[in-house]
Amino acid sequence: MKLTLKIWRQKDANDKGQMVDYNINDVSPDMSFLEMLDVLNEQIINEGGEPVAFDHDCREGICGMCSLFINGEAHGPDRGITTCQLHMRKFKDGDTIYIEPFRAKAFPVIKDLVVDRSAFDRIQHQGGFISVNTSGNTQDANSLPISKHAADEAMDAATCIGCGACVATCKNSSAMLFVGAKVSQYALLPQGQVEAADRVRNMVAQMDAEGFGNCTNTGACEVECPKGISLDNIARMNREFFKANI
């Protein structure tokens, strides 16, 4: 396949940045999207240019490091996957592909397609945990039965990989799906109840302080989420927030 790539290039955080066109030949449909970028980079290096910087690590859809806004969608046109799992067979010979970084004020660009998502970490620092020290003599794991339903639902919320696709795709750059997933995981488990009120208050306050926008329930985040995190988690966070404040 031959492709035209329109890629966002930006030297560093202070650079203005712009879209740059690249042509790439010999793309195999079996390649992953990131492997296609590897080939492009090899080509750029051999031509004496600077390769396109992009985040990636595990390349099996679980670390959450890869990002990219491809043809107007977070993680590209396929569903239920991250960019590293997107394969070139989803595109046609002669296609033009737009590749942009995840955009949000809270996710400033570091270079090219690499963005700084540490805002997510800072939200987690404010309550994304259960306060239990490591001692080796906490209570036996089976002394606290948890209904399968609650455990499964908590697991579904906990599968969030923190990639930021929800923020990138939301027209408001809202982080509520991400925060809602963490709040939900603990809200669904008895272990999480003790600190529930403080958790949701503090995490929401940090989320706001980071400059994320407000949820307007468009539902785009749920569609683009590579792990299919449900909007229910946002509703649950709203309820938790309500409970904590009234």
Binding site: G72, M207, D232, A235, N238, N245
Partner: protein
């Protein structure tokens, strides 16, 4: 409770609460207007009650005005914040792939409704306030129907009225569900609301439009 309204979720819930109030108001407004098709007397009677009852005039009316103003102001504040949350726009953004047009354009349907409300105030509310509290004209319990019919004389005004309610339908198509979701209703329950949501969002505006057209063509 302090600071809740400055938090994103607090604002979202407040937005939903004002929306619920406005949707309820809309329903009763519609019910009263509907009577104008069937009986001028009933319409006059109800309008007279609403227009002169002190509880409605001095308690509910200020609340309503506050609700309208709050919903709009908060809508603008949130929109401004949300716009600011992405300083550099995407070159290519395929929003249609993951969300509905109405959900992404609430601000525009909202603005159209705002424009209509301004018109509506000029048409009905200002003359009404002038009539009752400024010019202090004597109350005629049978004037309302005639005034209503008179307003729908102009095809331009009727057209604007129809267009505004089309925008209201768009606004409600997303807004109705969204308000429930914001106030914490789970998606499973919200799915059951889908039908009610559509009936309300389309039924009420279409109803208003029918009333307008009825009076326009029945002059």
């Amino acid at each position: 409770m302090s600071g809740v309204l400055s938090s994103s979720i607090g604002r979202k819930v407040a937005m939903a609460a004002s929306a619920f109030f406005l949707m309820f108001f809309l329903l009763q407004h519609f019910a009263i207007n509907l009577t104008s098709i069937f009986s001028a007397d009933v319409f006059n009677e109800l309008s007279h009650f609403m227009g002169t009852n002190p509880a409605v005039q001095f308690a509910l009316q200020p609340i309503l005005i506050f609700g309208v103003v709050f919903h709009f102001v908060m809508g603008f504040v949130l929109e401004a914040r949300n716009k600011a949350a992405r300083s550099v726009k995407y070159v290519k953004n395929n929003g249609a792939a993951n969300s509905t047009w109405v959900s992404r354009n609430m601000i525009y349907s909202g603005l159209a409704i705002l424009a209509f409300i301004v018109l509506h105030f000029i048409d009905f509310w200002f003359p009404e306030i002038n009539h009752k509290y400024i010019a202090m004209l004597p109350e005629d319990p049978n004037r309302y129907y005639g005034e209503l019919v008179h307003k729908f004389h102009s095809p331009i005004r009727t057209g604007a009225y129809v267009a505004a309610f089309a925008f209201l339908a768009l606004h409600l198509l997303h807004g109705f569900k969204s308000a429930f979701q914001s106030s914490g209703m789970s998606a499973k329950r919200a799915a059951k609301l889908e039908t009610i949501s559509k009936i309300y969002a389309i039924g009420i505006p279409v109803g208003f439009i029918i009333i307008a057209l009825f009076h326009h063509f029945n002059q």
